[in-house]
């Protein structure tokens, strides 16, 4: 009896299920497209996830990625909340003084929304690359400006300059930086004469492979702007290339090779393994002693204008070029 009832009503339940499913599928697709829209107030800043209106000059800023931490300090604003650094403890050493006493709101990849809310900020700087999902919740806490990536220094500077009402300072910082780059190019041309442009290779030694940072990466693009060339074997307009086998050592040969790595026993072991390989000893850069270790934070992790300037400092020093003050 029960089974009979069951069979006849199954036709109905099938039809209902099918129509319900299609409605649900449609609604989830529609809701996927619709979310990401922003508020309907007046617009002031156009950024990666829409437009945000900011009233007055923000005083309590929370920065949610390394480059934003750096840029805020550069613009003369101390954030009321920052995210943890990727190395060297809670803050990078070069920002230790500036950020002493500033509370941390968690990891760059997963900041604690509760802690941000408790800080009662009036501006949040986030990154679309990292915080796209939580953007709507962030903008309910405070007006939120979203920078497209985490390593685009000029973009970060521009957006934060606008948001913090310090556009003059932002422009001045960028002009200074560009002038330093131009100065480097001129000096390098004068110093190296016909050998310029030198080809350059940028390596990151990891625990089980070596990364080649190309001209699409942050440091790589700075090197590009400075006028360095790339060896012919390097792909163009890409970010990074993993070298998993020591066979590819010849690929990373160049006039100058910069490398950085983490202070970790596995990484050090791997570095030893790679540098003692006969192919490494065959590198031009090795034979002419043009292998330089550089600071991991400034060249890869900082992502802000202060870090970029420190990278330039190291480059000027390495090549013995003088800066005009």
């Amino acid at each position: 009896m029960i089974i009979n009832l069951f069979t006849t009503s199954r036709v109905w339940s099938n039809i209902m299920a099918l129509s319900a499913a299609s409605i649900l599928l449609w609604s989830s697709v529609v809701s996927a497209k619709e979310s990401g829209l922003t508020s309907t107030d007046t617009w002031t800043i156009h950024h990666a996830q829409g437009e945000t209106r900011i009233a007055g000059t923000p005083k309590r800023v929370v920065t949610l990625f390394q480059g934003a931490n750096d840029t805020a300090i550069a613009l003369g604003v101390t954030p009321v909340g920052v995210v943890d650094a990727w190395a060297e403890g809670a803050n990078y050493h070069y920002l230790d003084d500036a950020l002493s006493g500033v509370p941390h709101v968690g990891l760059e990849t997963q900041p604690s929304l509760e802690m941000i809310a408790l800080l009662e900020p009036d501006l949040i700087i986030s990154s679309r690359r990292r915080h796209e999902k939580i953007y709507s919740q962030l903008s309910q806490i405070a007006p939120t400006v979203s920078v497209p990536t985490v390593f685009d220094i000029p973009k970060t500077l521009e957006l934060m300059g606008q948001a913090l009402n310090r556009e003059h300072r932002a422009r001045a910082l960028w002009t200074d930086f560009s002038q330093r780059i131009t100065a480097f190019r001129q000096q390098a041309r004068e110093t190296f004469g016909e050998q310029w442009p030198l080809s350059v290779s940028l390596l990151n030694i990891r625990a089980d492979h070596v990364r080649l940072y190309l001209d699409g990466s942050y440091a790589g693009s700075v090197l590009n702007d400075l006028g360095f060339a790339r060896p012919a074997a390097h792909p163009r307009n890409q970010w990074m290339f993993k070298l998993t086998t020591k066979e590819s050592i010849p690929v990373l040969d160049a006039d100058v090779v910069f490398y950085f790595m983490e202070d970790d026993p596995a990484v050090r072991d791997n570095f030893k393994a790679w540098t003692s390989h006969p192919l490494w000893q065959n590198l031009n850069a090795f034979r002419e002693h043009h292998l330089y270790s550089v600071d991991r934070v400034d060249w890869s992790l900082a992502g802000g204008i202060l870090g970029a300037n420190r990278m330039l400092d190291q480059l000027f020093e390495h090549f013995g070029l003088e800066e005009n003050t």
Partner: protein, 343 residues
């Protein structure tokens, strides 16, 4: 206390077991209590009174925001995801007639994982993150369909289904690893968090996307209670009792995949819930699906809710994915259960 009462309400007949009702009631209370606890703790601890006030709109300020906009959707999401996964596992275990089956082992989570990791690694510059659940569900459905078709040989036997599911699951694990190896490093962490399973960042939009599915599927699943019980008897007996075994199996499989898919789509590949929750349920109440299902759903919800609670309070301000603790707690418990039961 195995007394049963029968109530007839229109075309629906309810056979009610008092012990099951009692345990379900206790579980409901436990769920509410745990939810209240989850709403109270976090980066800042609020008293339960403050939480209730915030829920009823009688307070303001950051506390109300935290409870209403940050914690409440997260708690609800964790519970719904756990419930869906628990139910999905229960259906699968009945279909396959083996208590070791679960959506993550049979490749359903694997398919969602491949799709989600591909999305996170390569498509995020162009597509908004809100597409992730859609992509993940599509992956789960495609994987399930592939497994079913490959297992088809004049019908689908549970044995073949299991074996092909496990084989494809291994292959999909390899594909996921491949994509993580090829991905730009900025997304590797996100991909891994997704693979472990996390309800971080759950908001009301997500609940609005998830809840309708569950509201529709729950009655569908419950209406199949008798059929699922029949499947446990074996194909021969079930056919003899009038059940169109192949069609029914396909339909139930679809329900199970849909439940697991929607859960995984929103919370990542949380493992073990679909495996453990039915077991705990079976030790508490009867084996019949109608009574077991709500209990299993609640246990699944409690598991994920607890995992998330531990994850976000243990290492404040770090927010560890719920999946870590669900596995950490659930997996050894499962091993213990099985050693005792000797399945």
């Amino acid at each position: 206390m195995n007394k049963r009462e029968r109530f007839v309400v229109g075309p629906v007949t309810l056979a009610v077991n008092y012990r099951t009702m009692a345990i379900s009631a206790v579980l409901i209370v436990v769920c509410l209590a745990l939810a209240l606890l989850a709403l109270s703790v976090g980066s800042v601890t609020l008293s339960p009174i403050a939480v209730l006030e915030a829920l009823m709109g009688q307070s303001s300020g950051p506390e109300r925001f935290i409870v209403e906009t940050l914690r409440l959707p997260r708690v609800i999401m964790a519970f719904l995801v756990g419930a869906a996964l628990g139910l999905s596992g229960l259906i699968l275990q009945a279909l396959v007639r083996n208590p070791l089956a679960s959506p993550d082992i049979l490749g359903i989570s694997g398919g969602a994982s491949v799709a989600a990791v591909a999305f996170l690694s390569f498509l995020t510059p162009w597509l908004a993150i809100q597409w992730l659940p859609v992509v993940a569900i599509a992956g789960a459905l495609i994987a399930a369909a592939t497994i079913y078709l490959l297992a088809w040989n004049r019908g689908v036997s549970p044995v073949r289904l299991v074996l092909i599911g496990i084989g494809l699951s291994a292959a999909m694990g390899a594909a996921t690893t491949l994509m993580i190896t090829l991905s730009p490093i900025t997304t590797t962490m996100t991909a891994y968090t997704w693979l472990t399973g996390s309800v971080y960042g759950a908001d009301w939009d997500d609940i609005r996307a998830l809840a309708p599915w569950l509201l529709v599927m729950l009655p569908l699943v419950l209406s199949q209670s008798r059929t699922i019980d029949l499947h446990e008897f074996g194909d021969a007996l079930a056919t003899g009792l009038g059940l169109p075994v192949q069609r029914s199996r396909l339909y139930l499989l679809c329900l199970s995949v849909a439940l697991a898919g929607i859960a995984v789509a929103h919370a990542g590949a949380i493992g073990f819930v679909g495996l453990i929750a039915p077991h705990i349920g079976r030790r508490l109440v009867e084996r019949q699906f109608a009574g077991l299902a709500p209990v299993t759903a609640m246990i699944g919800g409690l598991l994920v809710l607890t995992g998330d609670l531990i994850g976000r309070t243990l290492f404040v301000p770090l927010d560890l994915p719920a999946g870590v603790f669900v596995s950490a707690v659930g997996a050894p418990f499962f091993v213990y259960l099985l050693f005792r039961q000797r399945y």
